[in-house]
């Protein structure tokens, strides 16, 4: 590819790329990643603007996980209290898992017997308050403790790429590596299987995370896994 056509491609692809403080021309309602000043809408993060379905959003390229009620996540135990666990979910603050939300009958002070530091769970966010603190629960659908396996961390913004269109990416990784995988909305991914299979899947995840904004990823990953 010549230098000139490379440059052309870049400018074409840069469409919608915005930086903090950039004015966004829109009549839509303000969504996320923006701020308002004097009745105008500006981007507040580095990302791609998206003016669809009546909302002006800027999807940030990076950033910590912002918990939302109903999100299914993978959480890792960071601290144990007498009746709660403090769980790392990749957000600004650790999340609380209260013993009454665990589904186990936990005697007071005996939390570590059920979940000790480093243990992972598949959980759901069930409460987020204005002060930024949040709680998760294990008493929903398929929520449970995740035995064995490892947890891989990717950018929360890369999660849609890890899943792929209609789950194409994740299906490919599961089939090619013969592993069990749970993808949390928070960018924590739990992988279980044979040692080498796990490291194969882990490598795939890391590649997706690094190249989350490039095209033709599924094919690239399939090629990587066939090696």
């Amino acid at each position: 590819m010549s230098e000139e056509s490379k440059n052309n491609k870049k400018s074409e692809n840069s469409k919608g790329f915005v930086l903090p403080g950039d004015l966004l021309e829109t009549k839509s309602k303000p969504g996320k990643g923006i701020f308002r000043k004097d009745g105008r809408v500006y981007s507040s993060v580095v990302g791609y603007s998206n003016d669809r379905s009546g909302y002006m959003n800027v999807n940030a390229i990076k950033g910590r996980y912002n918990p939302k009620v109903g999100d299914k996540i993978v959480a890792v135990c960071a601290e144990t209290g007498p009746s709660v666990w403090r769980m790392d979910i990749g957000a600004a603050f650790n999340s609380t898992l209260h013993h009454s939300e665990s589904g186990w009958k936990v005697p007071f002070g005996d939390t570590a017997r059920f979940l000790s530091i480093g243990d992972a769970v598949w959980a759901e966010v069930f409460m987020v308050d204005a002060a930024g603190s949040h709680q998760i629960t294990l008493k929903k659908d398929d929520c449970r403790k995740l035995y064995s396996g490892t947890v891989v961390k990717v950018e929360p913004t890369a999660v849609p790429r890890v899943i792929g269109k209609q789950g194409s990416m994740i299906t490919a990784i599961r089939e090619k590596t013969n592993t069990r995988i749970q993808i949390g909305q928070n960018g924590f991914i739990w992988i279980d299987g044979k040692g080498e299979d796990i490291s194969k899947a882990q490598k795939a995840m890391e590649t997706i995370d690094k190249e989350a904004s490039s095209e033709g990823l599924t094919k690239k990953i399939e090629k990587l896994l066939e090696k």
Binding site: K10, F17, P20, K37, V46, I61, K62, A92, T157, S214
Partner: protein
Amino acid sequence: MAGQTDMELIKDGVRLDGRKPDELREVKITAGVLDNADGSCYLEWGNNKIYAGVFGPMECHPRHKQKADRAIVQARYTMAPFSVNDRKRPGLDRRSSEISYIVSQAFEKVVMVEEFPKASIRVDMQVVEAHAGTRCAAMTAASVALADAGIPMRDMIPACASGKVNDVVVLDLNKEEDNYGQADLPLAIIPSTGEVVLLQLDGHLTPEQFEEAMDLATSGCMDLYKIMRDALDKSYGGKK
């Protein structure tokens, strides 16, 4: 400022390093260079070399510094022992505490701190090689690192100094001009509004010279802002 020299710092409008009075040194910015930080930046500004890393928003420690209604920015400016000619004793000293403090203050003006109550945003700036103007260079690097970390903010802050050598107001002092010049005026602005978020003055300027130095530093900041934007565009804009 205090030093004496026989060197002619500026002659016929040309400075020691061949620049014109209103010219910046060469600035190179690369965003996202560190894997372990949430956001990072490497900046080369003339002979200055600086790394900036951003962590957070995260729980604020020590707890008594938490603000119930907003986040705080905890900036930390440090110089490597090998960053200057005479080995610098490592760790925080009077000068670096001052710079850390004013940089924190400046960033709290642009970062949307009200979105993260009780949190802390850590900004670490490490000067690897110093050649005058490191506080401005460190701030510029930190701005890019904050944007790289995906932290919501109103704008990025470019920072740039102007000063006076041989009674001529010049932009972006180099080492010799800083040591033997007559004045040094570091400035940081919010480009979209023109607000001043950092302004210091070391040395003597007449009111007219001050105005001239402010204008020069402001235009330097705007040039720098373009370089910062290009750096982020280069790192992320070409993809997708």
